[in-house]
C-alpha cells in the first residue's frame, strides 16, 4: 500500500494597517500616489534622521492581538533586520524579533470537517519596503519609496493547518476580524493582506515535522489553493524518490501555476538582528490594554448570537449580513429606525447584494444611509410607492443616497390613490382589450395578469398593483 502523507502548514500573514501615516514618520500612506511624493528623510533612510513611532499603529496591533486571543507583551521593543536590497533604503528593516507586541493567541475556524483552533504564535509590528519598478527602456530598476515605512503587522501562526481549505478558512477569519476592527481592509489582490505559506509533509502518524519550504507571492485564494496542492505533490514526489526536501523560499508564478526556488543569496540568510537604538521601548500598562478592550467593536461571532436572539430573520441572512461590518451596521441602524428587521434584511439580501455583485463593488462603497433605507421601507409599507418603483428608487439611492420621499415626489413616482382615475383607466384598458376581458370571463385566469400589466403601463407604474387587481375583478364581474 502506498504511504499516506499529512500536510503541515503554517502561515505568515502581513497586514497593512489603516493608519493615515507611516509607522515612523508623518508621511501619508495613501495608495497610488505619484512615485516618491510621500517620502521624507526618515522613510528614505537618510543618515541622521530619527524614527518616531505612530501610536495608532501600536493600538491597531493591540486591537488585533486582543481580538485573536493573544497576550500582550507589556514591555516590547523594535529590532533591526539587516539586509541589502534597493527596496530597503536603510539597509535594515525595523521589525520586532525578540519581544513582539502580541503572543500566544488563536482563532477558531470552521470547515466541512468541523471546528478547530489555529494557534497564533505572535504578532509583530514592522515597516513595509519600497516598490521596485523595472524600467522598460533602459536596463535598470526604478525605486519608489512611497510604500517604504507603511505600517504592517505580521501574524505568525502555529503549524496547525492541514489543508488548503483550513488555510482559506483561517485567512477568511483573520480578514473578517481585522476588517471589523477597522485596522485594515485586508485585500489579498491589492496587497493589503499577504500570506506566505510554510509547508512540509510527513508520513501520517509520525510526530516529527518534515523539512519545510516557504512560498511567497500568493495574492488570491485560488493561487494559495493551487500553490499548496502543487507544493504538497512536489514534496511527496521527492520523498518517494528517496530525495530530500530542501529548506528554501519559493516564488509562486500565478500565470504558469508553478513555484520555483528563489535564487539563494551567496550565503544563508544572516539578518544579524539587534535592538534598534533609535527607538525606545514600548511599555503597555494594564489601563491601556483595558482602554483598547473597551473600544473593541462587537465582533462577528458575538453579533451572530445576538441576531439570533433579537431579530426574527433567517440564519442564512444573519450569516451573510454579519460577514461585513458595513452591512451589519446598515442592517442594525435601519432596523432601529423602522423596526422591521425582516424587511431590512430583504433589501440587503436582495437588491443590495445584487447591485454589489453586478457592479463589482465592496460593501464599504455603499452610499445609501440607514435612515434613507428605513424611509424607503416605510414608504413602501404605507403604499406611498409600489414595489417596483421602490426598486428603481433604491438603485439610485444605492449610489447617491438621496431622500427617497423627496425623490419620488419630484419624479412623480408616488402611487396614485385616486380611485376615480384608476376606474377611468381600467375602463379604457378593458375597452381596448375586449378579447382578454372575454377570456377572463371565460375562465382564463391568466388574462387578468395581462390586464393588470396594461393598466400599470397606462398609469406609468404609479398604481398600487393590489388595488388594480381588485378593481379589475370588480369591473369584470
Amino acid at each position: 500500500m502506498a504511504k499516506q502523507y499529512e500536510t503541515v502548514i503554517g502561515l505568515e500573514v502581513h497586514v497593512e494597517l489603516a493608519a493615515k501615516t507611516k509607522i515612523f514618520c508623518s508621511c501619508s500612506t495613501a495608495f497610488g500616489g505619484v512615485p516618491n511624493t510621500h517620502t521624507c528623510p526618515v522613510c528614505t533612510g537618510m543618515p541622521g534622521s530619527l524614527p518616531v513611532l505612530n501610536k495608532q499603529v501600536v493600538e491597531y496591533a493591540m486591537a488585533v492581538g486582543l481580538a485573536t486571543n493573544c497576550s500582550i507583551h507589556q514591555y516590547s521593543k523594535f529590532d533591526r533586520k539587516n539586509y541589502f536590497y534597493p527596496d530597503n533604503p536603510q539597509n535594515y528593516q525595523i521589525s520586532q524579533l525578540y519581544l513582539p507586541i502580541c503572543y500566544e493567541g488563536g482563532v477558531e475556524i470552521e470547515t466541512a470537517a468541523g471546528k478547530k483552533t489555529i494557534g497564533i504564535h505572535e504578532i509583530h509590528m514592522e515597516e513595509d519596503a519600497g516598490k521596485l519598478i523595472h524600467d522598460e527602456w533602459e536596463d535598470c530598476t526604478l525605486v519608489d519609496y512611497n510604500r517604504s515605512g507603511v505600517p504592517l503587522i505580521e501574524i505568525v501562526s502555529e503549524p496547525d493547518m492541514r489543508s488548503a481549505e483550513e488555510v482559506i478558512a483561517y485567512l477568511d477569519k483573520l480578514g473578517l476580524i481585522i476588517r471589523y476592527l477597522g485596522a485594515s481592509d485586508c485585500k489579498l489582490q491589492e496587497g493589503s493582506m499577504r500570506a506566505d505559506v510554510n509547508l512540509s509533509v510527513r508520513e501520517a502518524g509520525t510526530e516529527k515535522l518534515g523539512t519545510r519550504t516557504e512560498m511567497k507571492n500568493l495574492n488570491s485564494f485560488k493561487a494559495i489553493t493551487h500553490a499548496i496542492e502543487g507544493e504538497r505533490i512536489r514534496q511527496i514526489e521527492l520523498l518517494e524518490e528517496g530525495k530530500a526536501v530542501i529548506q528554501e523560499t519559493r516564488r509562486w508564478d500565478d500565470n504558469k501555476e508553478y513555484s520555483y526556488a528563489m535564487r539563494s543569496k551567496e550565503d544563508a540568510q544572516d539578518y544579524r538582528y539587534f535592538p534598534d537604538p533609535d527607538l525606545v521601548p514600548i511599555i503597555i500598562s494594564d489601563e491601556w490594554i483595558q482602554q483598547i478592550r473597551d473600544r473593541q467593536p462587537e465582533l462577528r461571532t458575538e453579533k451572530l448570537v445576538r441576531y439570533r436572539k433579537e431579530f426574527d430573520i433567517p440564519e442564512y441572512d444573519a450569516q451573510i449580513i454579519t460577514e461585513s461590518k458595513k452591512l451589519a451596521d446598515l442592517f442594525e441602524e435601519a432596523t432601529a429606525i423602522c423596526k422591521k428587521p425582516k424587511k431590512v434584511s430583504n433589501w440587503i439580501m436582495g437588491e443590495t447584494l445584487r447591485l454589489l455583485k453586478e457592479r463589482g463593488m465592496e460593501p464599504e462603497e455603499i452610499k445609501v444611509s440607514a435612515g434613507n433605507l428605513a424611509k424607503l421601507i416605510e414608504l413602501t409599507e404605507a403604499g406611498t410607492i409600489n414595489g417596483s418603483v421602490a426598486k428603481t428608487v433604491f438603485e439610485i439611492m444605492f449610489q447617491e443616497n438621496m431622500d427617497p420621499e423627496q425623490y419620488a415626489e419630484e419624479k412623480g413616482l408616488k402611487t396614485v390613490h385616486d380611485e376615480g382615475a384608476l376606474r377611468t383607466t381600467i375602463e379604457a384598458v378593458l375597452a381596448e382589450n375586449p378579447q382578454s376581458a372575454a377570456d377572463y370571463k371565460g375562465g382564463k385566469e391568466k388574462a387578468l395578469g395581462f390586464l393588470v400589466g396594461q393598466t400599470m403601463k397606462a398609469m406609468k407604474g404609479k398604481a398600487n398593483p393590489g388595488a388594480v387587481n381588485q378593481m379589475l375583478k370588480e369591473l369584470l364581474q
Binding site: 528623510p41 513611532l53 505612530n54 501610536k55 535598470c140 530598476t141 526604478l142 544572516d270 537604538p277 521601548p281
Partner: protein, 98 residues
C-alpha cells in the same frame, strides 16, 4: 591576542557588509576585530548573572507620534540625495526579483 579571527570569518563578514577587501585590508581587519573582541571579553571578569541586557542608554520609553499627516510632497529635495534619478524615481542597477 586571545581572539583569533579566521580567514573564513573575515570573508563572511565582508560578504554581509558588501565590502571587497584587499589582502592587506583583510589582515588589518582580522587584527582589529580580534582586539575588539579581546576588549569585550573584559566583561567576562564581571558577574552579570541576573543583570537585564540593556538595549537603550536612556531610561525613556513610550515616545509616540499622533497619526496625522504632516509631511507634504518634498520629492524634488529628496531626490537630490539620489546618486541617479529618472522619472521622479531613484535609479539603481537592474534588480531582478528571483
Amino acid at each position: 591576542m586571545a581572539n583569533i579571527i579566521s580567514d573564513e570569518t573575515i570573508e563572511y563578514v565582508g560578504i554581509l557588509a558588501k565590502l571587497e577587501l584587499s589582502e592587506e585590508e583583510k589582515q588589518q581587519a582580522k587584527k582589529d576585530m580580534g582586539s575588539i573582541l579581546d576588549y569585550i571579553d573584559k566583561l567576562n571578569e564581571l558577574d552579570t548573572a541576573g543583570a537585564e541586557p540593556m538595549s537603550h542608554v536612556f531610561p525613556v520609553n513610550n515616545v509616540f507620534r499622533e497619526d496625522v499627516v504632516v509631511n507634504g510632497d518634498d520629492r524634488e529635495n529628496m531626490l537630490k540625495n539620489a546618486p541617479e534619478q529618472k522619472d521622479g524615481a531613484y535609479k539603481v542597477p537592474k534588480t531582478v526579483e528571483n
